[in-house]
């Protein structure tokens, strides 16, 4: 059984010894404890920053967000720190995932077949889809770019006495645009990790996925970690006389 530690090629790194991931029969290790920890840390900071930010973004709709943080002044005081928390933990995830997120020819092909993905025309992902598909990579790099924009424009707005009048007006717009893109992104992210693709959520909770999930959504990764052909494994499961349709949620 391959692990993500082997994938990254530095098995003995202390980070890989943090936490516990139990992999049951018929499952594969998807995200080790450190990755999951980072994900939920920046997840928490994302929503703190999002909610506090939207309280300031459009107070005439979202004024009821600010009392959650102790009033408008406190919201204003905390929002930059929430943002920095998000960027810090996401930055660690970038170091963790940078190799996995490298764009390849398979990803360009995937983007051309995006319509088939959205309409469920191909119920099984193309065989060259690895640990992440192109959609996931696109969102990841969007967040990287967004974080850079957030930090630059955020610091400018944090210290207006240093930067002056017009840089702040420009930063204000860029910061908003970045927030709107990520707001749209979070809906897609939550949908695809829960009801949109059943069986995915456990990858970020328990850290494992079923083998069937792997050959369905990430065939090339399945092949890499099990050494078996994903299409063949799927056909075998289909023909299996015991008719064991994959365990877990459908």
């Amino acid at each position: 059984m391959a692990t993500s530690a082997q994938r990254l090629g530095h098995k003995d790194h202390f980070i890989n010894r943090i936490g516990l991931t139990v992999v049951y029969a018929g499952e594969l290790l998807r995200h080790r404890a450190y990755t999951r920890f980072l994900h939920w840390m920046y997840g928490i900071f994302f929503f703190l920053a999002l909610v506090s930010g939207f309280g300031i973004y459009m107070p005439w709709i979202f004024r009821w967000f600010t009392p959650l943080f102790g009033g408008g002044a406190m919201t204003r005081l905390l929002h930059p720190w929430f943002g920095l928390g998000f960027v810090f933990f996401f930055g660690l995830q970038v170091l963790n995932w940078a190799m996995e997120m490298k764009w390849g020819p398979a990803d360009t092909r995937w983007m051309h077949e995006l319509k088939d993905y959205v309409t469920n025309r191909n119920q099984v992902e193309p065989p060259d889809v690895g640990f992440f598909n192109a959609g996931q990579k696109l969102q990841f790099w969007e967040i990287v770019v967004g974080c850079i924009a957030y930090v630059i424009t955020g610091v400018i707005m944090w210290f207006p006495e240093v930067f002056g009048r017009w840089p702040i007006a420009v930063s204000y717009v860029i910061h908003d645009i970045s927030a709107l893109i990520m707001l749209a992104g979070i809906f897609v992210h939550i949908y695809l990790s829960t009801i949109g693709e059943p069986g995915t959520m456990q990858a970020m909770t328990r850290g494992t996925v079923s083998e069937a999930w792997a050959w369905t959504h990430h065939p090339a990764w399945y092949k890499k970690v099990t050494g078996r052909d994903p299409r063949q494994a799927l056909e075998e499961a289909r023909r299996s006389p015991t008719a064991t349709f994959p365990p877990g949620p459908r």
Binding site: I56, Y57, M58, P59, W60, I61, R63, T66, G71, G72, A73, T75, R76, L77, V118, T119, N120, R121, Q123, V124, M157, P160, E161, R165, W166, I168, A169, V170, Y172, V173, D176, I177, L180, I181, L183, A184, G185, F187, V188, Y191, L192, I195, G196, E197, P198, G199, S210, A212, W213, W215, T216, H217, L234, A237, R238, F245, P246, G248, R250
Partner: protein, 304 residues
């Protein structure tokens, strides 16, 4: 606050819904007229401002001019700017301009402010900060074309000239007007002050040789409740950075009032989109799935 009882509000920053009590009482638009041609730089207005508003005194700073300090401060709202200007014809002018909040008809600070009720504009034109509602974001500083709002690092609030809204609400003139010994400061309705200012500008043109004398009441921000008579209305910049065409950044007008709500709706379309996807296309399930049930010889589900 005492002024709340007498001054009717017409605009409130970051406020949902209509302005309570708007239009219940007709109020004249008030105006302060500053005739820079008769200012002698005595700074009585500066002292009166600090005294009336009971502000802790700010250490002065010598900057090779007669100016009390380089710029206004959170507790120093009124500053005479001294400018030595050499003209092209070889003449020399020592220009003094009383600098304070201009109380714009279209206030950039109010447009930029995201805190409900932190900035209000009264029916009489006075723009006032309500510090108890201020969240300390300083967007008003960026929104203001005159660099007026000043931040206090310890209270995390922004302060500026109130045009003595507390005095005006009680039928008194602002403290600076009261203190001026030369009659360079006038206070009254906007209509009256404009007539007075134009008369004075005409007098300067006809009898004092200032051909370019005029009134400063910039229309790019809808006019102001503080107007100047200048010797040279074509070059207000030489009076210590008075902008000729003051502008509010588009970020706080076009972006904030139009594109922000549109952007929010566009973002929420993603939410609608995923719901629609679930309903029309359904989830992407782990394969293999149980065979699809057949109804009337055809698949119950869309066959792709």
């Amino acid at each position: 606050m005492s002024d709340r009882k007498t001054l009717q509000v017409q605009k409130i920053s970051g406020h949902p819904g209509p302005v309570p009590g708007a239009g219940t009482q007709r109020q004249e638009q008030v105006c302060k007229l500053i005739d820079t041609t008769t200012c002698i730089g005595c700074k009585a207005c500066e002292v009166a401002c600090v005294e009336w508003n009971d502000m802790p005194f700010q250490p002065t700073m010598f900057d090779n001019t007669y100016q009390t300090m380089p710029d206004t401060n959170w507790n120093y709202w009124n500053l005479i700017k001294f400018n030595e200007v050499s003209n092209e014809d070889g003449s020399f002018q020592w220009l003094m301009r009383k600098h304070q909040c201009m109380h714009c008809a279209d206030p950039g600070c109010l447009a930029a402010c995201p805190a409900d009720g932190a900035i209000v504009q009264y029916e009489n034109g006075i723009v006032d900060f309500e510090e108890e509602n201020c969240i300390g974001c300083q967007f008003c500083v960026s929104g203001c074309p005159f660099n007026v709002p000043k931040f206090n690092q310890s209270t995390k609030k922004v302060y500026k000239c109130t045009l003595c809204s507390d005095r005006v609400g009680q039928g008194l003139e602002p403290a600076c007007i009261k203190a001026c010994p030369t009659g360079c400061l006038h206070f009254g309705t906007k209509t009256d002050m404009l007539v007075l200012a134009n008369t004075r500008a005409k007098q300067l043109q006809d009898h004092a040789g200032f051909k370019d004398a005029g009134v400063y009441d910039p229309q790019t921000i809808g006019g102001t409740s503080v107007i100047y008579v200048l010797h040279d209305a074509n070059n207000p910049e030489k009076y210590g950075g008075l902008p000729k065409n003051p502008r509010i950044p588009l970020a706080f007008t076009l972006w904030k009032s139009w594109f922000k709500p549109i952007g929010l709706v566009a973002s929420m379309m993603a939410f609608a989109g995923v719901i629609l996807h679930y309903v029309t296309e359904g989830p992407r399930r782990i394969q293999p799935q149980p065979p699809v049930k057949e109804i009337d010889g055809g698949a119950a589900r869309k066959e792709n």
